[in-house]
Structure formats: structure tokens, C-alpha cells
Symmetry: C2
Subunit: 348 residues, 2 copies
Amino acid sequence: MAQPKKAASIWDVARLAGVSHQTVSRVVNGSPRVAAATRDKVLDAIAELGYRPNRLARSLAGGAVESVTVLAADTSLYGPEAALRGIEKAARSLDWSVQISVLDPADTHSDADIIARLPRAGEPTIIMAHDEPGMRAKQVLLDTQPQAMVAIGPYTAEELAASPWLVGMDDGKAAAEATKYLLDLGHETVHHLAIPTSTGTFGGGKAHRAEGWSRTLREAGREVPDPVPSGWTFAEAFKAVQPLVADPSVTAILCGNDHLALATLRAAHLAGRSVPGDLSIVGFDNTPFTAYTTPALTTVNQDFESVGRGAFELLRHRIDGSNPRPKPSWPEPELIVRETSGPPRPRS
Amino acid sequence: MAQPKKAASIWDVARLAGVSHQTVSRVVNGSPRVAAATRDKVLDAIAELGYRPNRLARSLAGGAVESVTVLAADTSLYGPEAALRGIEKAARSLDWSVQISVLDPADTHSDADIIARLPRAGEPTIIMAHDEPGMRAKQVLLDTQPQAMVAIGPYTAEELAASPWLVGMDDGKAAAEATKYLLDLGHETVHHLAIPTSTGTFGGGKAHRAEGWSRTLREAGREVPDPVPSGWTFAEAFKAVQPLVADPSVTAILCGNDHLALATLRAAHLAGRSVPGDLSIVGFDNTPFTAYTTPALTTVNQDFESVGRGAFELLRHRIDGSNPRPKPSWPEPELIVRETSGPPRPRS
DNA sequence: ATAACTCGAGTGATCGTTAACATCACTCGG
DNA sequence: CCGAGTGATGTTAACGATCACTCGAGTTAT
């Protein structure tokens, strides 16, 4: 087995180039105060040794912070995944490195566990706080290092504007919009298949999508049916939605996300109800597959990527006050009407 | 704004506890040679200051390597995402931290760019080498630090057994199995909508799924139609598959992954062809949504999570030869028959 | 002609942690 | 009663990089 010979350090380069280690550092970091001839010598030595600076040592030495850690429980959902992409892009363009730590939803992490995820105290952190483990992590970080953390989640416009460490989108408004659309179509009322709230059990924590939906119904003077709680998976949603699709009086269902909507579509099909003839289904998030189901899902688009970008900018501001505080903003939700929604069948 | 007061270091704890910093280090690392009374004092001090060890400094000081970096281009695909989950879990259980660096497929990274992703020379790295940026990264790492890298990708059993830094699944065999299934159903031949190969353009690099498919057809003495190249996105697949669904002589399509299969299903529906009556469609990967489409997709299950776990184990072995070399293994593909496949309609 | 300034490069401290070695107080056997 | 062993600590030196200084030589200003 080949001897894993130690990697070259800045001193090795310095020795080979016949200069001091500091000069090498200057070359590497692009300092202007180094003669061209010296620079070339150093560059040659770097190439010959295959030297690459050690990021760990760099940030230890008090160089500028250059990494973010993202804490998330479920990156298989489209929302978090897209937000992550936004963070990645924004960070990458500034040469920050991005570390992702996945919180296990099954596992009950102790507070110390969560903190141990961070490579160092004060590590800049972005938390995907859309579910229970995320909310938990948010609280822990808020207690230990509030200056270097930002959370992404669904909130109302007021909450977003008020909190200096929060970024997100106005889920309530998006839900209201979708609900209004269904009512305008002529549906008597709209049922709701709800994603779990941040506290894990439905009804406990905040549920902005459900709130926007119920508020709209109330304002329109309609009956507000009990929301149906579902888990995050297809299987859970499929099971939870059964009573809804079996009930012929239900003509419209607003689903908490597109996964639930797909499961609802499937359940409706198996129950022999035609969509959108007998039943209108509206999803949430505009997950890529929604445009290609049959029938294609009507859904609400959310620009998660820009939310991720926003989170990174806010974090930079909070770490280093000199960066301008990006003004709180949230992308406008946009209803995308496809084929699973339509007017209810006239009563016979 | 609250002064971001510096985090407590091992020295601060030592001072407060009235011991040397080394004793604190011993307590933190669970060394046995510390008196119980001293340990308690130190523990108290740690609690009071909210001290947490700095991972960066720890590994700088030559402590055991404890992090992996995963290089991947597209984590939105189910395969890489699941493999990543496998790596995460395996790493987490050993208290390693996982860093994920997303390679931008659009961006053309220079070799130096790729290397700069790693926090230090010799950083243990796992590469998702299923697409062009991944293959590129694999080559770069193989040149610079072959001892500390492992690649995940689709390969034949022979390739996997031969290469000491490769982990993956036998895509060719899986494709062969699916193709054989369709032939046994009575289809004259099977068409193939192919994912991009590792070199980006179809036909250039290796395409194990396509190879397994064509080999099976040849062995059965059937005509081998030209495979139809597609991109990774739904939109590209939808466009690419048009000629296939428009051709009534096509009765079976094996798709390179489930995304392509969903797009094909949609295209077939819009072209007025019934599935599986007129056309059988088989996907690849058993992405979660496939069980909930209408009709539900027949597909080939691959245990990506165990591949990810295997990659991590192999990496550990390669870094530290004392760990037993996990014997090369790859999960058996499993055909999952749902509703998009059936015998061809008898000729009229 | 001499003080003042500029430019290029070197020296030493520092970051937080662990490894290796040194020290010191006991206990135990002869 | 003394040397060896042992268990609990302290001391010093890395690790790889940056930063704040310092210093000498050449240029410019007075």
C-alpha cells in the first residue's frame, strides 16, 4: 500500500522557493506587496509540491469566517432542497463552504447533540425550521449563539418582519389564495389535508397553511370542515385522505404539499372519483413532478431558492454588521392552474 | 447590538476549574487517568462557560480524521439523495461530520476549483460519479489523493470487484432484468429512453443501463432499436420521448429513471395511447412517487442507501488500513411490477 | 546630505487542540 | 526506610495558517 505521504504545508513551499512562509501566504492570498519574480518562484514551488492551503487552519488563525452549516431534517422534500440550492449558490459565489448536517427525525437529539454538529462555537448556521427537529434545533441555537444563526420557515409577513433571524415565505397568504381560487370556482367549501405542524402533532404548533385556509373560509362565510392531519410520506397521506375521497359531498381538497396532493389524486382515482369532475385537488410548492402527473396538478408555486439566498444574505449581515441588512422580503406565491381543479359538478 | 463575545476555549475552562488545559482535554476526550473530583470540577466549569470543543482545532492538532466531504452535482435525483442518506447515517453513527459540496453542472469547474472544495489536503471524499461533473471530480481526486477517495456510480459487477475505490450497483443487470421481463410479457422488442451518460452526451461514455438493455435484446435475437437520448429533467424527457409515443409500433419503453418514466407516461397519455394497454412503461430506481402515480409505475428498485453505507465503510478502510476491507458487494436489483406494464395488445 | 517614505520580505505571536514527555505524590515490597 | 512502580497532573511542542510588527534597502524630498 502506497505510503500516504503527508500533504505539503506552507513551510515546505517556503523552503523550496527559498522564501519565508509569510511570503507564501501573501502569494496564496493575493497580497499586492510581493515582487513578481518572487511570486513566480513561489508559484512554481506550489505547483511542484501540489500544495493546497488548509482551510481548517486558515479559519482557526482568525481569517475571515468562510463556512455555513445548514441544519435540516428532511432534504427530500422539494422546499428544503430548493432552499438549500439557493444557499449553496449564494455561498459558493462568495467562496464560502457549505456544510449540511441532517437531523434524524426519528432520533431524539439532545441539545448537546445538536450543538455538537457544529464544527466550532459560533459557526454560522442556517436552520430549516419547517418541522419538529428543525424547530428544536432553532430553539437550541437561539439559546446558544443567536448572533450566528438564521432560520428558514413558513411564517406570516408580520412574523418575518419582526424577527431579525427569520426568513421565509408567507404560507398563510399562499393558502388563502388557493382557497379563494377554489371558492371562486363555485365550490361550497374546501377541505384541507394538512402537513404536520412544527411541533409534530397536528393542532399543537403553528400551521400557517391551515390557518390561511380556514381564515379564508371564515371570511367567505363558509363552513370550515375539520382539517385532516397527515404525515409527510405518500403512504401516510394516502391513508389519511381516505375518508375525504370516500365522501361524495367533498368537492375540493387543498393539500399541504404536492406529495399529499399526489397521494390524494391516487386515492381519488382508486375510489372512482373523477378529477377534476367530481373532485378538485390543489397542491402546494410546485414540485417539479406536478406538471407531469395525469392529470397535471394545480399547485401554488413558492420560490424557495430565493428564500435560501435571502437566508444566506441575512446571515452574513448578522455575523458582520457591516454588510447591509437585506430588507426583509418574501417571494410572492403564485397559483399555477393545471388540470386537477375546476368548477364543481352542478347538483343533480 | 449584543457584543458577540468570544466563545470559551479549553484554556478558559482550565482557568475556571483551576487545572491545566491538558486535564480539560483529557476530561473532554474521556481519558481514564483523571481523578473523579477533578473531573467534576472540570465538568462544572464546562457547563458554566458553555464550552464546546472546536472541531477544526481538534483535527488540526492531528486528532483522528473525523469528517467526510461528499461531492455531488445533482442531489435532487432520488438515487444520489438516498445514497447520501446512507452515508450520513453511517457517518453519524461513528460521530463523523459530513460535508456536502454541490458541483454546479452548468459551471465548468477547473481542477483547482474542485480541489478547493475540500477543507484540507487529504480530506476523505466520496464522489457521486453518475454524471459528467461527478466523473470529472472523480478523475481529479484520483490524481491528487487516491488514498482518501471513493466514488459511487453505476458499474458492472466486474468493474466494481476490480476497482478498490469504487462502490455502486450493477445497473446493467438491473436493466437486463427489466428488459427480460418485458420480452417475457410478449413484446416484440423494447425501446429505451436513456439518461445522459457520464460524459454528458449520449454515446460517448459508458451507459450501463443502456448496455444491459441492448445486450438482453441481442441475446434474445430481437431487433435493437436506437436508444433515445434524454436529459435529466422532466421537460427534456417529455420532449425526447415524443417520437416514441407517437409511433404505434412501439409497445414497450424502458426508461432510464423514474423521472423519465413519468414524463413518458404523461406524453403517452397526451398522445392518446393507453398504458399499459397500448404501451408498457418501466422506470428505474423506485423513486417514492412511483407507487402513487396513476397508473402506478412499474420500476426497478435499487437500494441506494446501502450503497451509500458501503461507500463510507470502504472509505474508512482506505484511510485507515486497520479497518477491515468491506467485501465488495452490491445490492440486488428488484423489479417492482405495478400498473404500467402488461402484455402487448394482440395484433389485429 | 540627511531625514522621511516606500516596498519587499522576515519574525514572532496567535488560534484551540492533542501528543509526548516530565513531574510529583503516593503506595508497596524488601 | 528507601527505590520502584503507578496514577494524576502539569509543561512544552507541534498542527497549518494569518496577522501585526519589524527591518533593511532603495527612492524621494528638503
